[in-house]
Point group: C2
Chain length 235, copies 2
Amino acid sequence: MPKLEICLSPELIQLYELKGKNVVVVDILRATSCMVTAFAYGIKNIIPVAKVEECKVLQAQGMLAAAERDGAKVAGFDLDNSPYSYMHDFIKGSTIAVTTTNGTQAIVKSKQADQIIIGAFLNISTVAAHLLASKKDVIIVCAGWKGNFNLEDTLFAGALAYQLKSTFETTQDSTIMALAMYESNQSDLLAFVNQSQHVRRLANLDIHKDIAFCLQCDVYNSLPVFSLDRLVAGN
Amino acid sequence: MPKLEICLSPELIQLYELKGKNVVVVDILRATSCMVTAFAYGIKNIIPVAKVEECKVLQAQGMLAAAERDGAKVAGFDLDNSPYSYMHDFIKGSTIAVTTTNGTQAIVKSKQADQIIIGAFLNISTVAAHLLASKKDVIIVCAGWKGNFNLEDTLFAGALAYQLKSTFETTQDSTIMALAMYESNQSDLLAFVNQSQHVRRLANLDIHKDIAFCLQCDVYNSLPVFSLDRLVAGN
């Protein structure tokens, strides 16, 4: 039986052996929700970079670029960190450079994995089906907030573990915790996430429409995966 | 209102500002449960050290010494990592050097705190009363298992937060999670902890009697606190 483990923060990633495994990176609010949306709208590539400066260099070379820090768009960039930014025709066939506070850092730290898959509630069943077909051990890497544990990414990890628990071993303590969190709150994910530090922190940035959108399951069947230096469509 | 935060693993401690705060270190199975028991039996000092070799040096100088690695007593030491080891008359007035896989490491990493307090279910209300009287911000540091999140220390953190939540701000995501974990399982802590990796890992070491003992609330009113290089009675 393959194993499913949950890494609660990128700061704990050194405790996990990533080689030979599928890693699912999740940053529900909002990096991976944006990526899943962008691929649903036909984007060709997303290049995740760790630093705002790298993102600026790619923009200067003519690429579309999106940079977020502390929940807000960085001045001078083309797109912000809302899934609604990606619901446009100009996305189709384009390549976009992206840097975010947490999500892109988690991708960069997961590069030793066999495959990195981008997960969100928006594509959760597509991710689960892919992992079931692959049969490899899985590590879900929660992007968290600046290294800290967060509720929304852990809730997603629990939801994904819930879909996989009859086929994967899910006996690690963090998985037991995340499964229980999901099972207690599955009837109203939004009410649960509304308690979170993230939502309170960003209340003044008027992102409630985004949050409600990001907590919907299976809106899209896109499957972004990391290949060489960029995200591409995995299905 | 003072703040209460929960650090889920010593590997995340660099994300917290410890200066000026009370830190509660918890390693339910079994380091801090042993320490609380030892002070209830009149021990004078416990010297926590990070390495087995340091512990051996202190033993060679004539001190009693206890060393645990991977849940088992290290050969050649006087005491093991069971609270029952400390329920003896010879404990009274003695000084013991101790090293454990997780608990003593968490103490060593918390030295920047204003005060380090040793917490366990065995003395939980005594710890809560001390924190209430002190009114300083609190960080509960879960010792975890080799850097990983664990259920039993998080459950204790939730139980302590539950006792303090009307007086302390408990809105950090890890605190919300731990509070919910405790509230869902408070009627049967033992059944919950029996699912944990720790219990499964140590099943062959016959520690079920210890585990049941360590999950009892308020057996003792001892309050070990760290002073200079050692634990002393704080009340």
